[in-house]
């Protein structure tokens, strides 16, 4: 299988951007997003003893879990497709591209 990256790039540019893949646009409790989720995803340690538990409820955590699951599924699907491109070996052009 060969992949024409130029055509692929052109097709992708024509698609509309989907906000569903952006975790900051999923309606998650802002405090959880800023002080827990994004720091955790960035590799920082989150000390649960320093959080303000009046800023969110246990139900907010459950809602955030659902949204994270949706974004995670989307990220896994993209990662799966990317594997095909990573494994595809480059092929030489059959015609001259210059001169």
């Amino acid at each position: 299988m060969t992949v024409d990256l130029a055509k692929l790039s052109q097709c992708l540019r024509q698609l509309e951007a989907e906000p569903d893949g952006d975790i900051t646009q999923r309606g998650i409790n802002p405090y959880l997003l800023e002080h827990v989720i994004l720091p955790y995803l960035s590799g920082e340690d989150v000390d649960m003893g320093t959080l303000d538990y009046s800023a969110f409820s246990p139900d907010d955590i459950l809602d955030a879990d659902k949204e994270i699951g949706t974004v995670s599924n989307g990220a896994n699907r993209v990662s799966y497709v990317m594997q095909f491109f990573k494994k595809a070996p480059p092929t030489a052009r059959q015609t001259k591209a210059f001169c």
């Binding site: 975790i23 827990v36 989720i37 955790y40 995803l41 340690d45 989150v46 000390d47 649960m48 003893g49 320093t50 959080l51 538990y53 969110f56 409820s57 246990p58 955590i61 459950l62 955030a64 879990d65 994270i68 699951g69 974004v71 995670s72 990220a75």
Partner: protein, 198 residues
């Protein structure tokens, strides 16, 4: 930027445990002082189970790979003591007592349905921890966080139930409203000194 979401939901379970325990008044923020990481999942979940009520006992049958927990709380004991008082005043058998049946139904809704666990609800009041929940699970059980959440719901139910029962028992029954003073047999109404009796 590429994020790794794989462990995030498991780590968020730890935060959920802390939030539920703090909301229920079983923990303070100081108890939640721990790094949110999947490596601490089992430790935090187990510690929370040991703190979800006043009395917790645990035993493990290693040969059968069954873990036994017994959970009891004063609010549960008080609930069933008040149920008996309610039955006595209303002339009801315990099996016909709506508060007994509501509690049995609620506990069933919360704790039933997992293939790897089961429970027994004890409702006696003749000694400390006579009322309690005996919960058992096998080596395939992975619902510690869900169990904790449901146990907190159960004990919250009993706490609210105690208040409802106390309020209902404080209300005068129909008999005391219609017959405020009981005239002892065989005295007649004219001979009975109502003022002295009051």
């Amino acid at each position: 930027m590429e994020y790794n979401y794989d462990e995030l939901t498991t780590a968020m379970d730890l935060l959920y445990v802390c939030a539920r325990m703090i909301e229920a008044g079983r923990w303070t923020v100081e108890n939640a002082k721990c790094t949110m990481h999947v490596d601490f999942y089992y430790d935090i979940a187990t510690e929370a189970l040991w703190s979800c009520c006043e009395d917790v006992y645990m035993d493990c049958n290693e040969e059968a790979c069954i873990t036994h927990y017994y959970f009891s709380d004063p609010c549960m004991m008080e609930y069933y003591r008040l149920c008996r008082e309610y039955s006595r005043r209303r002339g009801l058998k315990l099996k016909d007592n709506p508060y007994m049946n509501n509690a049995k139904q609620y506990v069933r809704e919360q704790l039933n349905g997992d293939w790897n666990s089961c429970y027994i609800l004890h409702t006696k009041v003749n000694h400390r921890c006579a009322s309690g929940i005996h919960f058992m699970y096998d080596e395939n059980f992975t619902g510690e966080v869900a169990l904790l959440s449901r146990l907190l719901n159960v004990f919250s139910f009993y706490q609210e139930g105690v208040e409802k029962l106390k309020a209902e028992l404080a209300m005068p029954t129909a008999l005391t409203v219609i017959y405020p003073t009981v005239i002892p047999f065989p005295l007649s109404y004219e001979k009975y000194d109502l003022e002295a009796a009051a």
